[in-house]
Amino acid sequence: MTKRDKFLLLSSILLACCVIVTAFLGIKMQPEYHKGNLEWFPLIAAVLIILISISSVLLVLFKIKKLHRGKAEGMLTGDYYRHYEVIRDAIANSQLSGNQKKEIKEDLLDLLISAQRAGKDATMVIGDPEIFAMEILHSFAKPSRFAILSLFDGMIWFLAFIIGVNTFLWLENIEQYYFRITISANMVILFFIISFILIPLTRKLTSTKNPWMFMFPLSFGFAYVILAEVLRRYFYSFDSVRWFLDGQLNLISSREMLVCYLFIIAILAVSKKLFRSKLLR
């Protein structure tokens, strides 16, 4: 297991631990009004969340093992493998299609295995792996085109978060009217940041050589919680801070709006596919 793999595994374990602890706290601090109906739901949800968290760690471990077990990858050694995994991650986290990623991976393996067998120095062959990965991506399109595709992803993620959380809150207390459920303003802002900044940035950072970057999402989560607590303690007198901390937003206020959200997600997904085939060639 390389240093990069260890960091990846560690970050997934830490993230899973945080989610599990939060799920436990969620059950303990469950408000009284939730206990009347569908009492079982929070418990089932917590068990599901815990199982998903544990599975995510096992999935990461399985992926790491599988990558190392791969016949072709296994042929690369030392610096060749270290450089290869930086390029592989950059391509895997890019906006290229599945087929394009697969093709590049096969090309790279053929190229690097041939160079390694010829006894060439890995650094002479690859140079800087981050630059090599960037050059490969630029051979498909300019960075601005990748940014457009990320924007599609951001919008899809954001709408999916809103629908997902609205549904989850409704399941917590099924007697509530679905279209009157409110989500706190700080959660909506968090979803916005995750969708439009955190996910694209994490994708970009995990394709750099520095393995500490795998810790970025977790660090961001902690920073956001600390920020909220600092604001509550020292700046609560400001209206905007009070709105951020305690404000509630009803984002799905009617059946038509829900249909509209779902319709927009479908349109965005199809448009992204069409745009990708036009933009990345």
């Binding site: 053929d110 190229l111 062959v125 490969i136 051979s139």
Partner: protein, 111 residues
């Protein structure tokens, strides 16, 4: 990226088209042939150029089993690639004459 790198990349595109027009090659072989011709290039320089040429529709590919690792990609020129090679050759000969003329003129002035 400096001008020299940009110029070399443009020239390498033309040279790769020429090499591929003469024989079927795969990525690693292309690097070997360019270096044998006198360039000093590595795999990280050549592979993105091959991908760009393929994406522009100048190259078509064929996958064949490789003695090591995954299938190997062999490159061939398309008709657009042939046209692009002709255009490159014409521009190159023209530029070559102009640049030589200017350089030789400069040398004569110095003498």
């Amino acid at each position: 990226m400096n001008n020299e790198t940009q110029i070399v990349k443009g020239i390498l595109e033309g040279c790769l088209l020429k090499i591929i027009s003469k024989q079927e090659i795969y990525g690693y072989k292309a690097v070997e042939l360019l270096n044998a011709a006198g360039f000093t290039v590595n795999e990280a320089t050549v592979y993105p150029i091959l991908t760009r040429l393929q994406n522009k529709g100048f190259l078509k590919i064929e996958k064949r089993p490789s003695p090591y690792g995954p299938d190997r990609k062999y490159y061939f020129l398309t008709s657009e690639g042939e046209d692009s090679l002709k255009a490159f050759e014409q521009s190159w000969f023209k530029i070559n004459i102009i640049v030589n003329h200017i350089m030789e003129g400069d040398r004569n002035d110095q003498a």
